[in-house]
């Protein structure tokens, strides 16, 4: 496989990579940065990527790991300087999201998903948004088959509970 083919393949899945990163990082800018970084890294280590069964799964795994790392270092306070501007971005984005979705209901689902623990959020994203089959999710998340199903089930149930709970509070 040549360089161009790798680039084409990465570009065809860049939105997918971005969505997975954003599920963890929330910030648009940082998710973009993360995906960019992963794409550069894959191109630099092309040989490893070629050995991987699918570049897509390989890239998604890298994005997953890197967004978790980035989040961690952010929480550890290494990015304290950037945090102010980051919060800024997030709030701007949330405003945008609200005007675009024009629906409070979707916002509610989003809140429910963001409430999930990282692992559940990722497994849910990979299945219910990206539509990966279980084997792919197992390899990306480095989990066994039953663990994936249990995590997914917990995530789906938690989302439902959260939505129902909020509805009850309103009425």
């Amino acid at each position: 496989m040549n360089q161009h083919k790798v680039i084409d393949q990465l570009q065809s899945i860049q939105s997918r990579l971005y969505r997975v990163a954003k599920r963890i990082l929330v910030s648009h800018e940082e998710s973009q940065d993360c995906v960019q970084d992963v794409m550069v890294k894959i191109l630099e280590r092309k040989e490893i990527a070629e050995q991987a069964k699918s570049i897509e799964a390989y890239a998604i795994t890298m994005v997953k790991n890197q967004s978790i790392d980035r989040l961690k270092s952010k929480q550890d306070g290494f990015l304290r300087i950037e945090e102010a501007s980051l919060e800024d971005l997030v709030s701007k984005e949330e405003e945008l999201d609200k005007t675009f979705s024009s629906s409070q209901r979707l916002q509610k689902v989003n809140d429910a998903v963001q409430h999930l623990p990282k692992k559940q959020r990722l497994v849910w994203q990979l299945r219910d948004v990206e539509g990966y089959d279980f084997e792919e999710i197992e390899s990306i998340m480095d989990m066994n088959a039953s663990a994936v199903r249990v995590t997914l089930s917990r995530a789906r149930k938690a989302i439902r509970t959260q939505i129902l709970g909020e509805n009850e509070n309103e009425s």
Partner: protein, 145 residues
């Protein structure tokens, strides 16, 4: 309609248990994303979820243009940081040099002072010697007389 209702209910339960296949999930998606379909109020949560995932699937990003913007921000930050470093180090070097010069001057001053002291000491000694000379002169005169 009744069977369909039961079928959807069963699929939803399977979905919540993480047991649905991709095909079954596709069925659920199609069912709940049909905006015109009146649904059981108990399933509203599911409609919201499947509407939300549809929205999310459409979230697209193109990294070409924005990335240069982002990296230009980073490179500006890099330039600023290197300038800051340059200023700090040059200031440090300047201070060091100043200190060095001051110390050199101090040393020179001490050396000069020492030299002067030496000279004055020598002069004093010479003066003392002169007294002897004077004395000798007087004695010579006495003898000569």
């Amino acid at each position: 309609m009744k069977t369909s209702h039961n079928a959807i209910q069963a699929l939803l339960e399977k979905y919540l248990d993480g047991q649905t296949s991709l095909e079954e999930e596709m069925l659920l998606r199609r069912y709940f994303r049909d905006a015109g379909r009146p649904i059981d109020p108990e399933w509203e949560w599911a409609r919201d979820v499947f509407m939300y995932t549809q929205n999310e699937q459409q979230l697209k990003v193109s990294l070409e243009e924005p990335s240069t913007r982002l990296s230009s921000v980073i490179s500006w930050m890099r330039i600023a940081a290197s300038f800051a470093l340059l200023i700090v180090t040059s200031f440090g070097v300047y201070r060091l040099q100043e200190e060095y010069q001051e110390r050199k001057m101090q040393e020179a001053y001490i050396e000069t002072k020492k030299a002067f002291e030496l000279i004055s000491k020598q002069l004093k000694q010479a003066q003392e010697q002169l007294v002897y000379l004077d004395y000798m002169d007087q004695t010579v005169q006495k003898i000569l007389k």
